[in-house]
Amino acid sequence: MADSLLKIRRLSKTFPGLKALDDVSLTVGRGEILALVGQNGSGKSTLVKILAGVHHADPGSEVDLAEVEGSQVGLHFIHQDLGLVGTLSTIENLDLDQRLGRRALMPAPLRAEQERAEGLIADFGGHFDVRAPIDTLPAAARSIVAIARALDGWDHPNNVLVLDEPTASLHGDEVGKLFVAVRRAAERGAGVIFISHRLDEVVELADRVACLRDGRLIADVARGGYDHDDLVRLIAGEILATDTGIANRDTGEPVMSARGIQGPTIGSLDLDLHAGEILGISGVLGSGREEVAPILFGAAVGNVSTLEVGGVGIGRLDPRRAIAIGVAYLPGDRHRQGAVMRMSARENMTLPRLRPLRRFLGRLDQRQEKREVMRWIEQIAVRPDDPERALELFSGGNQQKVLLAKWLRNEPKVLLLDEPTQGVDVGAKAGIYALIANAAAAGAGVLVCSSDAKELALICDRVLVMRDGKVVAEMRRSELSEASLVSAGLGRAGPDNGGGSAANESGVTSNV
């Protein structure tokens, strides 16, 4: 079983200003489950995208799919959203038409189809109603359908299956079912690349673990050569090389106090944000990290039992009221939520607060507006410095600067940021951090929810680490490091430096 199905040699990928992958070599053998681990931004998704043909690798890189018995190995991808059609049944999603030798307009042989579908999912340990719409099935069953579909209909067993975060939306017992399916696939001779943030799963499932950090392959270890803690150390790195540049600041009175924040994942969370403080929220995908800011702003479903802003109690917020009382929210998804991409930088920047620019007969004072926007653009160094350019034509970093300025222009008391540097190149990151630090220095309380532990360790005064919808650790500036955050987020004991405060299994809610 040692023959390899997929060989990657000296794979590099350079984006402008960023080396996403640097000389990575990997092989996946027949029947082998290879786990690929690493932090956000370590290059995992770039690797998957190169395999899928979304990106082209740099010259000199090699990606070889072995030829077995005259036919090339097939590559199959199952992404987090599975790519199934929710309103159709399992049978329809499996798309059995061709396999049953049927033409497009022939009537469907229902019985045969159903039996075939049941057989297929049974191969992967699934037993459920194949006629029910996919939407009505539990998450694990949906993953099984996706796996069955990916591997069905190939006349040879030489396939490589790439699972990208398949367990992020699964509950505990469902994960087990998915693992059965993945093992079945491997037993049938497929190679599996399994990408996950949940290290317990990796330890349980993988035959071999490859770890990426900053685009480089830093470990490729076979089963037995590592345990959970080793992996944490590998992923996070042991060096505390975070020269902050952001000194310990005195923080003032609380500007926002929330009790009992509840959301789809979040059980009940309390937090206090002080004037001048940069508070981070850390956690892996699915930990509830990404729900906090939108719920506080009233942008997403959720509930807050009591909320005070600037010492004044408020009921539930909606975006309009939130803005009126000095809360600002920068969503993580720029394209969908953050900006009107086809409007100019100027129009985006002034949208939340046009009132001061209103003149006689409701006229908008565009000259004043241009002056004001130009001042911001110079201050935050947007390139090119053209306020009339449509926002979609700026690079990610410059878009984000414009959107940050849009909120800073309101002089907010509370600044809620979701993934403030997502899709932003290294150069612009520093600029954005400086803007955040300036806002805090000006007295705003800043909440930064981020999947990038390095970023949080760099800029935050305090970080709450979330896991499974609860705060499991709270770290002050002196305890912060990328490693301590990652290990606390992944659970279990951290590497030597994060030890004491990091892992608190009981799920204590922070209450400062």
């Binding site: 942008a299 309009r320 009126a324 953050g338 009107v340 949208l351 939340p352 046009l354 690079s395």
Partner: protein, 345 residues
């Protein structure tokens, strides 16, 4: 700003004008031809302006044709069947149009029905209402005074042309010169982002549809004045010209944004083409062919240009980044010399 892409309709107008001037000079170059054309197109233009307001807020109002027909019939009904004086009749007609718009808005915002479906359904309901009110008969006996609205001439042009300019001016001012207009465009551009920026998007969408409904009813009233009768069949024929004009207009002046002046120019350009072809003796099905083709071409070309612009901007950006790595920050992202040199250093 003056590139071909932004004012292509004006170039097309010049070309068509030249062609028809040479082809059918006797009729095409008559002032009366143009007066009639402007007069008849004023209604289409007013309707298209109403549509622009709705489209800017991101709502497809497929009921504009029926709304115009409804305005035409209800104005006649108020004047003749209810015997109301002119001013109250006009006010009530506008109110009725606004109420139809409100109903559209509530269906979309409160009942969360897609604007396409909501207005399509409303369109059918309005056609039923029109038939019910009029018993599918023309309402005759419109007073002389009301007819004057359509026929009064000032400085050689009929009143509807001036009314079109007035409606256009107000719509332009609100859309492009006020905070409200900014919020309308933001809502149409990305409703979620607008909501998160504190815009009351439900109100904006509903308000735009109310304005659209009232303007459409106003246009319908002018038709009744022109025809001296309330005609229950006229509405639907205005739908396609209004959409063609609004979409063709969006490719003009404002780089892909629905706008008032682009739309008025588009109405006139389309009408000139159709008129010229009619004068040159083209068969009766030519206007339909012309309008449909123009709509598809306008939207198709705009899509193509948008993609092309984005790709080239992206390419410039990538080259710029690579250039700045070697040559420093100073290089401006211009497509030619500076950047290329920066990269080679």
């Amino acid at each position: 700003m003056l590139s071909f892409r932004n004012i292509s309709a004006l170039y097309i107008f010049v070309v068509m004008f030249a062609v028809f001037s040479l082809w059918v000079p006797d009729t095409f170059l008559q002032w009366d031809t143009w007066k009639a054309l402007l007069s008849s197109q004023a209604v289409t233009a007013i309707l298209a302006i109403g549509l622009v307001v709705a489209l800017s807020a991101g709502a497809f109002d497929l009921a504009v044709g029926a709304e115009l027909g409804f305005g035409a019939i209800i104005a006649a009904w108020f004047l003749v069947d209810r015997g109301l004086p002119i001013v109250p009749a006009i006010a009530l007609t506008l109110l009725a149009g606004a109420l139809v718009g409100l109903a559209n808005g509530l269906l979309i915002v409160k009942a969360r029905i897609d604007s396409f479906i909501a207005t399509l359904g409303m369109s059918s309901i309005l056609l039923a209402l029109i038939a019910w009110i009029s018993s599918s008969q023309q309402i005759l006996g419109i007073s002389e005074g009301f007819q004057k609205i359509g026929s009064t001439e000032i400085l050689g042009l009929t009143l509807p042309v001036y009314l079109m300019l007035a409606v256009g001016l107000v719509a332009w001012y609100v859309l492009e010169r006020t905070p409200l207009g900014r919020r309308v465009y933001a809502t149409g551009g990305n409703i979620e982002a607008a909501r998160l920026a504190g815009v009351r998007v439900g109100l904006v969408v509903t308000g735009s549809l109310i304005a659209c409904g009232a303007i459409a009813a106003f246009a319908g009233m002018l038709v009744t004045a022109n025809l001296a009768a309330g005609d229950p069949t006229i509405g639907p024929a205005y739908l396609l010209p209004a959409f063609s004009a609004a979409f063709l207009g969006s490719t003009q002046f404002r780089g892909g944004r629905f706008n008032v002046w682009g739309t008025i120019v588009a109405v006139i350009v389309l009408a000139t083409g159709v008129k010229g072809l009619q004068l040159a003796g083209a068969p009766t099905w030519i206007p339909d062919l012309f309008n449909g083709t123009a709509l598809l071409l306008a939207v198709g070309l705009a899509k193509f240009e948008a993609t092309a612009a984005r790709t080239s901007a992206l390419r410039r950006m990538l080259r710029f980044d690579r250039g700045s790595g070697a040559g420093g920050e100073a290089a401006q992202p211009r497509p030619n010399s500076t950047v290329a040199n920066g990269g080679r250093k």
